[in-house]
Point group: D3
Chain length 146, copies 6
């Protein structure tokens, strides 16, 4: 059966602040600019979850998207939606909540829990004009070595 | 000359929390649900500013949209972008930062400052699926008498 | 308190076919074109529900959008989502399911059930490039007299 | 029968330059900024055409959107798509092609040619972040008497 | 000459129902949920067709997008637009019309008919929040072996 | 540290005309159709710039998107925004300004100037329904050899 990718988009709204313990207050303000604003700001995040697998000939599905949605809601959205990413999420403790770090941590939450297919890509939109994309520890989609 | 409406969309990202001093902690949690989450959450807001006026026959403009954009950035966006709407904005002090209250306060910031036309509508998108709209204290959107 | 409009967007996917009992088979085919295709076609509909009211000073809300969403889901979306609008919906029996007729029937389902504000506009998108809009039997959108 | 508004979106791509014969070269450059760039620039325009009328009980339509689309394509899009709005369009001769002026001239092209309903609103998007809106020479958007 | 990918988006509206002959009525209802609704539902599909090839130095094109659009309209859209995917399309006979199966069958319709480049990716959006993607029988874009 | 891709979208509005010196006037008109219109037409272009790199553990960033935006604005947008791509841009002299050729030239402008990561993909949208994508001289994104 052909191998197909299916993608489901989910969303959540959260507050965050970018601040590094490795930098002084001045360096933080200078490096992150407004993103270092002390009392947090926030975003409407969109999360695109892509799973690859062979089509099941009995059902026509790679994986039931309803089940995929329920899984991502339970493992990710329930913890981050309407929350503060610096303060409220146990699995983000000690993580600078940049889009890059978030997308990797979300991958770690999801990768082992998806059956009937394998997680191949996550795209996390922070605004409609910028996003971070992660494809796991297999080097990207440019043919690199594992 | 014909009367035309022109609209410019601006955006900002901010944190907020809905909490009313008129309600008990339990009532706040029950009424606002996740929006009452104590450590804030946030949104990518889109603000559509609509100005109505006669076309200037010499320029073809109701009002220069670049000037309108600069005005809204100076009076509104500079204060709220990458900020906490509960804590950081002097002109929102004591205001529950619901979309409804925000759009009215933004109107008050802008209405008196627009020349070459008059502000007739503000739309504030909190997410791509909900927004608040205000047309000033004149009822309706046709500039009629109260 | 200021009068503000709030809007919530909901969606549903449905099949339909345009066919009039007042027209012959040939007239139906000629008038509706592909929309008269006998075995139905379908759309992802988006429904924008707009409620107007004064802001409640204790809460900052015209009306809780979560409650508005739940109401529209119970009264409209539950009946039409993943359904055939010609065959499956009791309150559309005998109705040609054009966007115009749908938006009026949805209005009738909702208008009497909204409290804390009044329904002032419904927009029903049939595709991203066309929609029907209804504002009730009061002419225009400024709350004027008939 | 209820009065409903239907809207159809059309698009065209065109070049233009903002320049006024009433201004000196310096004033043009200063007033219009980059929009005065001598060799033209361009946009993907989106045009939303809104027609209001009673639903025809025999068909469920205010007006066939396919016919509306064909009319706007013949009267407007065919003349402006992939054209230079300063040089190529007879009915824009001598007009500064601002969004404001364009939307009024398009109204004049369409208003008398729509039957089964009447044109009540045109929205012309110049970019995804700004647009001009015209509702004819009757003030307000409810088609009422002045 | 550089190798570039060009993409053209097309759309169609269709009805479908997910139902497998390999499952009992109860299993179908349980597995597909609302998508098994007996009288069909429908979607506005968007189809993104991506062709890769070297730029022709004489024309600057990989392939004329107008010709690509005409080809996809003739081979795919003409058969599925405003149709029932379970009943009306000869090349979908016996196929469960999931997004996964559809995108593979559309690939088979198009792959051999594109010249001046080769089809490398199809994305079929069923709603604005989910899509299926197929890249032919060469394993995905993750550097796997053919 | 994990390798992540980050993308920033920028926009510009420009005029262009497709015309090849290798073709006769008749061949140009026939091959390019409306795109060969003599007095230019134009588009709102969107440019998605994707950079890949390891996350810096001290900052959580692959690369500061603000710096990426400033770089693309200085090297690309400042030259093409509100310009004529056939006449006004030194680094497009002699280039047929198709989306394919543009995306390759923009790549050449940017590839050597990005530090803290490497440019891996550019997507240039000419309209909301078509785009060209370039990934450098490494063949496609399917793991082929250079």
């Amino acid at each position: 059966m052909p191998t197909v990718r299916i993608t489901r988009r989910l969303h959540f709204s959260a507050a965050h602040r970018l601040h590094s313990d490795q930098l002084s207050a001045e360096e933080n303000a200078s490096f992150y600019g407004l993103c270092n604003s002390p009392n947090y700001h926030g975003h409407n995040y969109e999360l695109d979850v892509t799973v690859e697998g062979e089509i099941d000939p009995d059902t026509g599905y790679v994986m039931d998207l309803g089940r995929l949605k329920a899984l991502v809601e339970a493992e990710v959205v329930a913890d981050v939606d309407h929350r503060n990413l610096n303060l409220d999420v146990p699995w983000l403790e000690g993580v600078i909540p940049s889009a890059e770090n978030l997308v990797v941590r979300i991958w770690e939450r999801l990768a082992g829990r998806i059956r009937d297919g394998r997680l191949v890509k996550l795209v996390l939109w922070e605004t409609p004009r910028n996003y971070a994309e992660y494809q796991g520890d297999i080097r990207g989609n440019n043919g690199g070595e594992p």
